[in-house]
């Protein structure tokens, strides 16, 4: 799915659009615990969408460390300006939707987004 298709599917707002806007993303990962995202370290350079309800700067740092170009923050909470600023600095596209995680995952899944298949040895 393109970034625009993702935005349309979950009714997202673009908090920060500077980054890899030309992406075609096939896989998504949903997590509130940052440690949980780590198994997606093993995926060559496949771009993925990170879906999370956490709004603090660590989300952007996790995404940057893992080379994740696009983050969707669910549950409609207010995002601190520091998070948006860090996303701008690191060119991580940041989207936000008021929908809950389950609905966001479901809507994207119905449009063809797949869950990350990678496993660590």
């Amino acid at each position: 799915m393109t970034v625009d298709e993702i935005i349309e599917a979950v009714g997202a707002e673009v908090l920060q659009g500077k980054g890899r806007t030309d992406l075609d993303i096939n896989y998504a990962f949903a997590a509130d615990l940052m440690s949980d995202t780590l198994f997606i370290v093993a995926r060559d350079d496949e771009p993925i969408l990170l879906i999370t309800g956490v709004t603090n700067t660590s989300v952007v740092r996790t995404a940057t460390i893992l080379d994740i170009p696009l983050v969707l923050i669910v549950r409609g909470k207010k995002i601190p300006p520091e998070t948006i600023q860090l996303a701008i600095e690191n060119e991580i596209i940041l989207l936000q939707t008021p929908k809950i995680m389950f609905d966001s995952c479901g809507l994207l899944f119905e449009k063809g987004m797949k869950g990350c298949p990678w496993r660590l040895k």
């Binding site: 309800g53 549950r75 809950i100 995952c105 479901g106 899944f109």
Partner: protein
């Protein structure tokens, strides 16, 4: 709406708790690993999808009357937590796939049921 029995038959989901009432109906799911978020927003007709496996989740499920917790990514709680869940009639389920994947599949099944 569907029963937990249907869910476990249609998807590769394992039941961890013994003597579980699998005819319990669920209407939706709540996917979160943040406990206060679940406390605030989850409902008594939800499957709670999470990777949190420690005993605290049972207290939250009890308070919110959440009938069922689904652990993803092959994670599962220890035997003590499973026993405690059985005592409190909370159904524990587990699957190998990610929260996104199983959440998407459950969403699809529930939407299909609605439309049927």
């Amino acid at each position: 709406m569907m029963t937990i029995k249907q869910l476990t038959e249609l998807l590769p989901i394992e039941v961890l708790t013994k003597n579980a009432d699998l005819d319990t109906a669920i209407e939706s799911a709540y996917s979160s690993d943040l406990l206060s978020q679940v406390l605030a927003k989850a409902c008594h007709r939800d499957v709670w999808i999470t990777v949190q496996t420690h005993a605290t989740i049972l207290g939250i499920a009890s308070i919110k009357q959440i009938p069922c917790i689904l652990f993803t990514e092959g994670l599962r709680p220890c035997a003590e937590v499973i026993t405690k869940a059985e005592q409190e009639s909370i159904i524990l389920l587990a699957c190998q796939t990610t929260s996104f994947q199983v959440g998407g599949e459950i969403y699809k099944l529930l939407t299909k049921e609605e439309g049927a």
